[in-house]
């Protein structure tokens, strides 16, 4: 059985989808087989971030409602040689159409074929979030260093705890060292303290992410940049290797140096 992980945040626009694509991509570089499921019914975007928008024929909703098999619906990512698969969300349905029991059943069946299944949750704490967290044993909370995102993350962590998802960890995204040095941005320590939740990654602000998204490439599979190094560190930590947080250190981590040379 693979691990089922929900990627969520409460607040929109903090980078859930980009994080899902890159953490999933990074795990394939460690030899893992990964499935990414877009749970944002009606507002799907993971296909676009992965550059697969023209290859989607069937969606996860089609699988749930028996119109096709999971194998027919899964789309292969371009660079990972079949190790990274996408199940897209339906644009023709509403989030309310997700049947929680069916979602749990389908995800449990899929998890037997992968090392990791990531559920990319929609923003908010309504039904789409419920459906994304119901099958999950673990949660990655994406948070940006601002008061609104941290407050929403706190709410989401509380809701996940109530549902029995106690394995929550934080990914601090869009981290800007210049702003930290000027004392204009919450530090990752501040966020960890306030939320009382462990840290699994710090992803620096990196313009290369925008370029990769524009092209429809997953950054970590196409370029060596500071953010790509951070995603790789998250993958290592999920695999149990405690690496340092290169975005927090003044120099470059061994991992990021290695990554640069590739």
């Amino acid at each position: 059985m693979g691990r089922v992980i929900v990627v969520t945040s409460g607040k929109g626009g903090v980078g859930k989808t980009t994080t899902t694509a890159n953490v999933g991509g990074a795990l394939t570089t460690l030899g893992k087989k990964v499935l990414l499921v877009d749970m944002d019914v009606g507002l799907r975007n993971l296909d676009l971030v992965m550059g697969l928008e023209n290859r989607v024929v069937y969606t996860f909703m089609d699988v749930l409602e028996g119109r096709c098999t999971a194998e027919q619906a899964m789309v292969k990512e371009k660079h990972a040689g079949g190790a990274l698969m996408l199940l897209a969300a339906s644009q023709l349905h509403n989030k309310q159409d997700l049947d929680l029991d069916k979602v749990k059943e389908a995800v449990a069946a899929l998890s037997t074929e992968f090392d990791y299944v990531f559920l990319d949750s929609p923003a908010g704490i309504e039904h789409g979030f419920e459906a994304s967290s119901a099958p999950a044993e673990q949660a990655l909370i994406v948070v940006t260093p601002d008061v609104t995102s941290v407050r929403d993350a706190d709410r989401v962590i509380g809701l996940l705890e109530n549902k029995g998802v106690r394995n929550c960890s934080l990914i601090v995204n869009k981290y800007d060292r210049t702003l930290i040095e000027r004392k204009k941005q919450l530090t990752s320590d501040d966020i960890v303290d306030v939320l009382g939740t462990e840290l699994v990654g710090v992803v620096p602000e990196d313009k290369a992410i925008l370029d990769a998204t524009n092209r429809g490439d997953i950054l970590v599979l196409s370029q060596s940049t500071p953010a790509a190094a951070a995603y790789l560190e998250i993958a290592c930590r999920l695999e149990g290797d405690e690496t340092n947080f290169s975005a927090l250190s003044t120099g470059h981590s061994l991992l990021s140096l290695f990554w640069r040379q590739k």
Binding site: R151, R155, K183, L186, D190
Partner: protein
């Protein structure tokens, strides 16, 4: 120090800490004050306490919420 001179990330942290106590407890500031007064009434029967320095927070520890209060005492009451 006033907010004018404080680093804004410090202000952000203080505001967050404050609002999260309310979010987590789902108690309004008024109810929170009332609870503090009730705590003062009970604990003050046994200890001479410093009412101005009472702190109350709701923290997350090992996957659950914990109410923490800090009530400094000036001395014991001789009952």
């Amino acid at each position: 120090m006033t907010w004018l001179h404080k680093a804004t990330n410090e202000i952000a942290r203080e505001r967050l800490t404050f609002i999260l106590v309310q979010d987590r407890s789902q108690l309004s500031p008024a109810v929170m004050e009332q609870m503090k007064e009730e705590l003062v009434a009970v604990i003050g029967k046994y200890f001479d306490i410093d009412k101005t320095q009472i702190q109350l927070s709701v923290e997350r520890q090992a996957g659950r919420q914990v109410v923490e209060t800090s009530i400094p005492i000036n001395g014991l009451r001789h009952l």
